[in-house]
Symmetry: C2
Subunit: 340 residues, 2 copies
């Protein structure tokens, strides 16, 4: 039966109109409260700078307007989107993996850095230096197919717990940063993670945790080789590094994937320095932000000289380069979602 | 004023209903004609296989349904999206670049392969072998910043003309393939170009020509190095190859960028074999398509033993692997847009 729109007869409608007006007013109030896109940020300079920048580049017809296809935002991961203390999650993963694989490698009980890992002697692990680290990575990150490695990571991230907070690592993310990701997504930004960590270590869980597509993860990577095993094509992870996506490697990684500097870049350590330097020197409006870890109670307080995520040059040069420095203690009402 | 839906009174509605039915029928007919998403394809097996596959993976609730975030399609470029005869466009670009730079390199007049290029002696260029090709690429593709190189490419692609058709290279694209790109875009596929050609050679023009984002170009690439020159950060292209994105390098390139095999893969040469092999061996519905150059009149006819885009193993194994082979002469009503 055909339908048509018809006005409701007027007579019995006055009460309903009043009710509608009240409901509408309530909704407007509720919406303007709910509309703060960064509710876990205090109303300080950092929050205002982020909001103003996003508004400036998305307002059509204005001089600094940037069309959606050029709205690219890049985020470091460790220390910027989630915690990197007391050690990078990927290092915790590697240590767990050594323990898991030890039964197949009887020589590890007597050989550094494996001996140190198995005995909990982190000083001995560190004393093995770069060669030791390379051996650790080869033993825990190479030799599998890419599919097998993804399964190992997925299983670890489901079960491993952070030593201080006794929470899954995927809960060790920064609530204020989740809000920034959301704000940018709503404003048609393409969000990339650009991390010194391994791309294949992040891809299995970034969609669930950050709402970021796995193909938007740029990270360090092992060489992989295509082989056909018993008729089944596989990619095998080799014990050789293809890209260290850290420091000057970050602009290189971004260039390989995206081909141009992002509009917005968030980092937290001097490993992000070149990425911020490159992006914010490019023409047009650009926003560079450094997250400064200043909250020893709710998270950690560290910068210069920290073993993980050291920040010195970035702090020194941020003012002259116009980069925003986020003071986690001052600028964030909450750090982790579970602290709300 | 609030509105509500109410049935139209029956009485004065018979004539209107008849009229509505006729209009509706006319619209349905018009729509089904206008709605052929592949109008430059004859109604043969290839077209039907493509349309059926797309319908199968996009119909919600069906067994083979694939959610939008997993709808990834990969297309080779040379010979699949645009012509690769009488030589790859990028080789024509390199030769033009040698001529352009010759005045700065007086030694080139007496040194192969440059001498051959400058004298139009292609046999001499070929005789210089792999070492010669590497020298050509180093001389024409390295030493600039990434920005300078993008400008050189953009300027070449604006002015260079194809030797046989006397058209800009960007018109040497296949109309039926543009329609496939469009069909997939409308069905929420993410489209990637996966080419043995250089990523930086394609990125400046792929959006305009194919509607594909530059960051969705996976190609061969030179090593680049981050430097700060007089305070300005740049990426310098080095005379070293970082990835040859061809043959077994294509699954590697796709894995680096996307992290999983595409749902749909189009290629045309044995340089695409491993990409099709890898993608179509993955679990779930997969579509592999090879474009077979069979039309010497409207385009070129070549396969086995061709200098550019040789296709032998792919032709031999397509039937047993369930890959669709497109016969350009039989399956396409038109090849280039300018032939319509």
């Amino acid at each position: 039966m055909p339908l048509r729109l018809s006005p409701v007869p007027k007579r019995r409608n006055r009460a309903r109109s009043v009710l509608a007006a009240i409901t509408l007013a309530a909704l407007v109030v509720a919406r303007s409260v709910a509309a703060d896109p960064l509710p876990s940020w205090n109303d300080t300079h950092a929050k205002r700078a982020i909001l103003e920048f996003v508004e400036r580049v998305t307002r059509e017809g204005e001089a600094d307007y940037v069309p959606p296809e050029q709205r690219i935002a890049a985020f470091d991961n460790d220390g910027t989107l989630w915690a990197e203390q007391p050690m990078y999650a990927q290092l915790a993963f590697a240590l767990d993996r050594v323990r898991q694989l030890a039964s197949r490698h009887s020589d590890w009980r007597n050989r550094q850095p494996f001996k140190g890992v198995l005995e909990g002697d982190i000083a001995a692990v560190q004393a093995s230096g770069e060669r030791g680290m390379a051996e650790l990575i080869a033993a825990t990150h190479a030799g599998t197919t890419t599919e097998e490695f993804a399964q190992v990571v997925a299983s670890w991230i489901r079960t491993a717990r952070h030593p201080r907070f006794d929470r899954p690592y995927t809960e060790m993310v920064y609530q204020p940063m989740l809000e920034v990701l959301d704000l940018l997504r709503k404003n048609d930004f393409d969000i990339y993670i650009v991390s010194g960590g391994g791309a294949e270590f992040m891809r299995p869980w970034v969609r669930r945790v950050y709402g970021v597509s796995p193909e938007h993860v740029i990270g360090s990577r092992a060489r992989v080789e295509y082989r056909v095993r018993d008729g089944k094509p596989v990619l095998v992870r080799l014990a050789a590094i293809d890209l260290v996506d850290d420091g000057a490697g970050k602009p290189v990684g971004i260039h390989q994937f995206i081909g141009r500097p992002p509009l917005i870049v968030f980092g937290n350590s001097d490993g992000d320095f070149e990425m911020l330097e490159w992006a914010t020197a490019a023409p047009g409006p650009r926003l560079g932000v450094l997250v400064h870890h200043t909250d020893g109670d709710r998270e950690w307080a560290y910068d210069r000289g920290s073993r993980f995520g050291a920040l010195a040059r970035g702090l020194d040069e941020a003012p002259s380069r116009g980069w925003i420095v986020v003071d986690m203690q001052r600028d964030w009402t909450v750090i982790f979602p579970f602290q709300r």
